[in-house]
Amino acid sequence: MSTNPTPSGQTVGAFDVAVVGAGPAGLAAAAAAADRGKTVVLVDAGAQIGGQYWRHPDERAPRGPEAEGHHDWKLFTELREKLRRHRQMGAVVLLPNAQVWFVEPTAPADADDREGGWTLHLTPTIVGVDTAEATPRLVVAARLILCPGGYDRQLPVPGWDLPGVMAAGGVQALLKGHRTLAGQRAVVAGTGPFLLPVAKQLADAGATVVAVCEANALTGWARHARAVAAVPAKVAEGAEYALALARHRIPYRTRTAVTRIDADPTGTKAVQLAQLDAAGRVVGPTTTVDVDLVALGWGFTPSMELITAVGAQTRIDVDQSLVAVVDNSQRSTTPGVYVAGEATGVGGALLAVAEGELAGIAAADALEVHAMRIRRLRARIQRLRVFAAAMHQAHPVPARWHEWLTPDTTICRCEEVSFDSVCRARDELGATDVRTVKLMARPGMGWCQGHVCGFATAKLAAAAEDRPLTVEDLRPLAKQTLCAPIALELLAQVTSKSTDEAL
């Protein structure tokens, strides 16, 4: 296979398999492929492996027991140890601090070389960090396993751009990665089981959690008793959190949302908690609490830029996220590209690990060799998927959430686009689809490239026509020519043909 060097930089290759993302899915995928004799390059934008679930303090500067605040930590240390051994043997190359900003099919060396594989374009996530190895510009591999995970899904509310209002996952990332408390008095709000560990971890670290506000009623779970019973570990985890909340005397309020946040000059935030009906309309009495931290989370949304970059087909999942279409061996619709973890549908770390292992075995062409293991993995994935679907159905995004917004509510934080401007683009300029809304009012055009406001902007476009979200609503905001912001200098050096075409 050709390594297609360009004048612009150093190429590393050719590997049998390139894995993007060193979270639960990517770690399992890399280990599974290397276990089967393949050479693997594992790339992650972060400084160390673990992804979002196993985010932990810098291994070179430990802060208390590593496992503190973690679930399934033993599974992580086993994967880490396995990869360490593979790295020692030279079967796995780990590239941390390396962002994949562009993916393209590798130009075939000759006409017979039909499966040329994939070229990943990399840039250091932060230049100037002391990493063991310099980040190569290009990585070439025959097969690609994409495990890019996701991030907190957000719904704008008035005041959500005030300092001290954070994504629930970000609050947890500070605790897990740095043992840092983002505030002393907190409200945790949004929907889904993830609010519970955030509240518990805040309280364990010494904060006062004045309320956990869950927008939905828990009765939504009742219809899914069988799906829940099939994964006893999740039931035990739920019970553990319920106990912890009771022990810390944290009120858990269902059908309640943060509908407005105001701050005084000292930074204290007056947070309005409102009672909702099943559709998410404010129906009941509103109370106000004073806090210095608001943690908001409406589930997670997958990072889809790499999946769209390779041209793989996408679909809308139960939770209205755009996700990759994969078959029962984690193969995407693009030949040679496998997807595992949150990018195939948000479903938690254990599902990500199972999918990663399956993808690794499939990419190593070893499905038949391990028929028994594959059957077990598929059954496990199926169980966890059913559970995830139950969770999504029990914790939907409130349909009428946009009724909480005021005209001056910020929708796009980067470009400071207000709700009013989005409405005007629609009502006065005729922008009924997301692409036109984006062009007219500019949400999703700033630094974060719609990662934060993309879902909400799509929801507003769909809500205006009173219809559910479609792939067409989400894909324009998920598809970026460049998968990560890069220095223009770097872009100028890339001379490959497909880059020119794409730009």
């Binding site: 751009d161 001290g164 970000g170 500070l174 043992r179 840092t180 505030g183 002393q184 470009e415 934060v452």
Partner: protein
Amino acid sequence: MTRHPKTQAGPRTVEDGGTSVVHLTLNGQELLAHPGQTVGAALVDAGIQSWRTTRKNGRPRGLFCGIGICYDCLITVDGAPNQRACIVPVCEGMQLSTTAAPVDAATDAPNDGGTKR
């Protein structure tokens, strides 16, 4: 800058970690951090929630996503503007500045995800 009620300079949790401390400055004022922390975590530990204002409306901002996605936490590090505080690790002697650096008007092509120091 917004401070939340527990305003005290320096890391509050030194005892649970190593013994060494990293010295930073923020607009010339000394700040302490743990080795291995990010700039964002060090600022929050020091009771600081906000360190920049937005271009259009001058709204204060600090950490939001905490994982490098939202670009709300931008700060100038050793003279290099637009660094994500939530992912840049602290280094001994690092100089942080909240002075707004001139921003390229063409923000639709964000230009410095990976930056020089």
